[in-house]
């Protein structure tokens, strides 16, 4: 597979290892039997840029992340978990989202490990187990 911009490793060391990175999960992207998101949830964006996440800078970030997507769930991994897999995290503020960031590096295999490491912060609509 040709290398995409999001496969190129970049890391911002000013983002601490214990910073939670939040990623929305739509209801149709849940492997219910495994109680986790589908394995490619942390893959690059469809335009080839890195994986979009929000930096959880305060306790209200989950609500902001899900503001326009009430049926979606949200999972979190820490920057340290991402780095332990050889990936990086960089800030990528957007006009409408100052806390936007990207996970960078080759995720062909590591995205499958991230979904097994991540933690549910809110379940998508239709998921009925406890978190």
């Amino acid at each position: 597979m040709p290398q995409q911009p999001g496969d190129i490793f970049e890391d911002d060391p000013s983002i601490p290892d214990d910073m939670c990175l939040l990623r929305r999960v739509p209801p149709n992207r849940v492997v219910t039997e495994e109680k986790r998101p589908q394995s490619d949830t942390f893959s690059n964006s469809s335009d080839g840029t890195g994986t979009s996440v929000d930096l959880a800078i305060d306790e209200n970030q989950i609500e902001r992340t899900l503001a326009d997507f009430p049926d979606f769930g949200v999972v979190a991994v820490t920057a340290g978990q991402v780095r332990a897999l050889g990936l990086g995290v960089i800030r990528d503020p957007l006009p409408e989202n100052a806390n936007h960031a990207l996970i960078t590096g080759n995720k062909k295999k590591t995205s499958k490990l991230l979904v097994r490491l991540c933690e549910w912060k809110k379940l998508p609509k239709g998921c009925e187990w406890n978190i």
Binding site: R29, Q38, S39, S45, S46, D68, T110
Partner: protein, 170 residues
Amino acid sequence: MTFQVTINSSSKLAYSDLYVAAASSAAKSNAGAWPEPEHLVKLDVKFRDYCYELTTKATNVEKFTAIISTFQQLAALRKNWDSYGALPLSHKSWASALRTLFVACDAGAECPYIGLTNTGGVHLEWSRSGRSLEIEIEGDARQFGYLIDGNEVREIEQITRDDILTFVRT
């Protein structure tokens, strides 16, 4: 004897509808008999302007109905369905996934988890006690296979029906 059933991905379909259709077809061709387990049922599966013909044993009809029903739900997803710019289901990946599923499930594999990837491809996944076999079918129909066991991810080049059957039978 072959019974013919036409399935249109733009219409709602439940197993009972399909079985009624199969039974109705049987009634026409065999004086009211229901398809026996070993009878062949021909499924004409349509997606947008494309049509594929699959022939399977009557015992597999329920399994294929579930698969086609899942594809109907995935085909209804619009651009940006994941909120991060994901693309809708591509015809090439749909056709490739359907063929892969047909070959595997006709040989005895159960219906896997089926999801859409953000490039318009299809994600298939069989899980067994902490291990997973995953097939990612890109929007251009290229296939990538992976075996995940704990923290190990092994890529499988040229995944075959036997790879799938070996996994699901262990």
